[in-house]
Subunit: 102 residues, 2 copies
DNA sequence: TCTAAATATCGCATTATTTCGATATGGTCA
DNA sequence: TGACCATATCGAAATAATGCGATATTTAGA
């Protein structure tokens, strides 16, 4: 758990919004029609839809998602041409605990 | 509650360490001998001692403490020539809750 | 009122982050 | 294979954060 990297991710409001959208993809994104049945309902969202909603360029959102993955705030899975990201709830919970105890 | 400002504070490891020292000043700082009896045990620590331990210049630590106060992560009280800072536990708790729910 | 101590503020150089456009990579399907 | 789509990576310019030294402010005490 690299708390330094985690807090650096959170220091950017667009990244925080992405995290919060991924908390409940159903209300923030259309259905992931290319995602196989077995992966539905796990909170995965593809990069393109996140980019659209975030209002930044494709390269920027890709960079953000990578930072969030390095910090283990997100996990990802590549399926076909798409990369799907979802929250890593364990890291978020540990981060909350860290702040409460810190 | 300006979460953006709070996360920006936390994005710096020296500031995070200051916050954690102030969680338990007794084990990290000598007694505050100039602090009146009525304020003892409330977790107040003066700027000079925080500076020494943080290993940055006086102007830098003053700047940091001000950022943390603006973000309501710290409160302060001026007594004589000294400014004493202590944690604002309410903000820290709300921040932890925010991350857990976000 | 002068001096000294503690802290705050200012100005600035350095370094890091942000964010883009361009390009590369990897996967799909005709 | 070749064209195309989604995503990743690269390189660079703009902006923001870091952190210092110098200086100002505030308070205490002689």
């Amino acid at each position: 758990m690299n708390m330094d990297a985690i807090f650096k991710v959170l220091a950017n409001p667009v990244r925080v919004r992405i995290l919060s959208w991924l908390k409940d993809p159903g209300t923030h994104f259309p259905p992931m029609i290319h995602l196989p049945e077995a992966e539905q309902g796990k909170g995965y969202v593809c990069v393109g839809l996140i980019q659209e909603k975030a209002g930044v360029t494709q390269s920027t959102v890709s960079h953000y998602l990578n930072l969030m993955k390095q910090a283990e705030l997100l996990s990802c899975k590549r399926i076909g041409q798409w990369t799907y990201y979802c929250r890593n709830e364990a890291t978020l919970q540990k981060t909350a605990d860290y702040i409460a105890r810190m």
